[in-house]
């Protein structure tokens, strides 16, 4: 579990105008680990992943990927470093068939420009095989993605990122809009991706979900690091306590004489 870090942040800060969205964050993400980033709304989770996924550059501090210092200008640059992000809205097109979605933007094609044509057979087979690898067997690979369940859609997006060579997978609240059963499906694939050697960054505000798959926990509060702990240093109760205000809550409990 002590592989060299694939993504490393040192004292990274981000300002929106005068507002300090993140202050001096340290973060270490390793391969074959699930790093959970937790926190309340406005804690800075989104800002943090936007920096890593290339949507916004950071203002100060150092970010290293594979030991090289980087500052991404676009998601495409992050993608080139093997960092893929599955957003809440998934970047899937509901009306398009599963296999077309799977290869959208990176289609398999044969022939000479400008007469390049899709390798429909290979695309359908590959999409089906990759989804089966993730343990999902779809009745119809031609079905529009919009017909799949929320959990299945997450898995399609994850399988796509894995297939296209992601080594770091950022999942933005993948279980937020899902029921218990669907969440279970997604959590299983998070574990599968980790076991396949990927570094997974799992953003959530649900400590129960995070504790089921996490190896390493980071809790943010008002843009600051509230907690950075390995799984073996932490119980679920402690994690929940940190999430719900942590030290502040403890002080409050003490003050009210009920602790």
């Amino acid at each position: 579990m002590n592989a060299s870090p694939i993504v490393e942040l040192r004292e990274v800060s981000k300002f929106y105008g005068n507002i300090r969205a993140l202050s001096s964050i340290d973060l270490t993400v390793r391969q074959s680990e699930v790093t959970c980033i937790l926190g309340d709304n406005g804690a800075g989770k989104s800002t943090l992943i936007k920096i890593i996924s290339g949507l916004h550059p950071h203002d100060s501090g150092i970010m290293r990927v594979n030991g090289d210092e980087v500052s991404f200008a676009s998601p495409r640059e992050a993608l080139r470093c093997g960092i893929a992000t599955v957003y809440q809205d998934l970047a899937l097109v509901a009306l398009m068939p599963v296999w077309r979605n799977f290869f959208l933007g990176s289609e398999l094609a044969s022939g000479v420009r400008p007469f390049r044509y899709l390798d429909v057979g290979r695309m359908r087979l590959t999409a089906d095989a990759e989804l089966k690898k993730m343990g999902i067997a779809l009745a119809d690979i031609d079905a529009p993605v919009g017909k799949l369940s929320g959990g299945e859609m997450q898995v399609v997006a994850i399988a796509r990122a894995v297939y296209f060579g992601a080594r770091v997978l950022i999942l933005d609240e993948p279980t937020a809009a899902l029921g218990v059963k669907q969440s279970g499906v997604v959590l299983k694939y998070i574990a599968a991706a980790r076991d396949a050697g990927l570094a997974v960054i799992f953003i959530s505000h649900n400590p129960h979900h995070a504790y089921l798959v996490g190896d390493h926990f980071v809790v943010l509060n008002l843009g600051r690091l509230e907690l950075d702990a390995e799984r073996n240093q932490l119980s679920l109760e402690q994690l929940i306590r940190h999430m719900s205000g942590g030290a502040e809550l403890q002080a409050l409990e003490h003050e009210m004489g009920r602790a």
């Binding site: 097109v93 398009m96 933007g105 044509y117 919009g146 017909k147």
Partner: protein, 322 residues
């Protein structure tokens, strides 16, 4: 369910209906006339359907046909050039109008309804004003005596005979464009992108689809179809009426929607739009062959559009339902 299924049923109903009520439509010559009528609309419906699947419309498409025809005619006539020079200039202009529409859209983020409504009005004005300025008239001069006319007519507006029926070459253009459009849409990466930019442009951009380029090229495709249609009109009638084309843009949209294209984009087919154009042709000629007042044509059209929209809504509901 494929997008064109609804329109195919509609076409069968309409054909059977007029086959029974209008015996005159059964002859081979009538079939050819129906197909010709369908092709003049259907060529434009190819571009308009692709654009609609890509999530946009083009209200300037009707008058852009006239702009193209006027340009070819007046340019060749005024410079006493070979008509093919005018044809080439018209192609460049038609593609530029498409590029302008697309560029305005992606640069300003305005809805295509507004952008192309602006272009529609401007082109309508330009068509009338420039024609009057150049010819002193509302129509262009006859180009049938000019160099290159015969070969241009052969390409764009000739007729040939099959089994005793006169067949217009525009029908071949129509079939070729439907085939090409279908191939691009279903079998190329560009086709995948067209579905994606119409279905969810933000998602498409996030996975690396060149959204802006795709949209601009779609508008230019409409421009290309407007050029073919414009050239057909010019070489079929030898002169062009500068006030024409108004209202046709809606008929193209109707053909695409009847053919199963979602008005909101992301879904549809080129074959469907061709069937939509065919329904148009059958109804417009069928009303005539049945000996009815042609006023009924618009009524049929409206009813057809409503029915098609209901079928599309049903499709959309099936897809959205989890």
């Amino acid at each position: 369910m494929r997008p064109e299924v609804g329109s195919l049923l509609g076409a069968i109903v309409v054909i059977v209906f007029f086959y029974i009520t209008a015996p005159a439509i059964r002859s081979l010559g009538s079939v050819s006339t129906v197909l010709y009528q369908s092709s003049t609309l259907g060529i434009m419906a190819v571009g308009v359907a692709l654009l609609m699947i890509g999530g946009e419309f083009d209200l300037s498409a009707g008058v852009a046909v006239i702009t193209s025809a006027l340009t070819a005619s007046m340019f060749a006539y005024q410079f006493t050039a070979n008509v093919w020079v005018g044809v080439a200039v018209a192609l460049a202009l038609s593609l530029s109008i498409g590029a302008f529409n697309g560029w305005m859209l992606v640069r300003t983020g305005l809805p295509s309804f507004l952008v192309t409504l602006g272009t529609f009005l401007m082109l309508q004005g330009i068509n009338l004003a420039i024609t009057r300025l150049v010819t002193g008239n509302v129509a262009t001069n006859d180009v049938s005596n000019m160099a290159g006319f015969d070969s241009a007519k052969a390409i764009f507006a000739s007729t040939f005979t099959i089994a005793g029926a006169d067949v217009n070459v525009s029908i071949l253009w129509w079939i070729a464009l439907v085939a090409a459009g279908t191939w691009v849409l279903l079998r190329t990466p560009a086709g995948n992108w067209i579905f994606a930019v119409g279905g969810n442009a933000a998602s498409a951009r996030a996975v690396g689809v060149p959204v802006k380029r795709t949209k601009v090229l779609l508008f230019m495709t409409v421009g290309f179809c407007a050029w073919i249609t414009g050239m057909h009109q010019l070489f079929a009638y030898n002169t062009v009426q500068s006030g024409g084309g108004v209202g046709l843009e809606l008929e193209y949209i109707v053909a695409a929607v009847v053919g199963g294209c979602l008005l909101t984009g992301g879904y549809g087919s080129v074959v469907g739009a061709a069937i939509g154009a065919l329904i148009f042709g059958v109804v417009s000629q069928g009303v005539v062959y049945a000996g009815w007042n042609p006023d009924w044509f618009k009524f049929f059209l409206g009813a057809m559009l409503l029915l098609a929209t209901l079928v599309n809504m049903f499709v959309r509901y099936q897809v959205d339902r989890k």
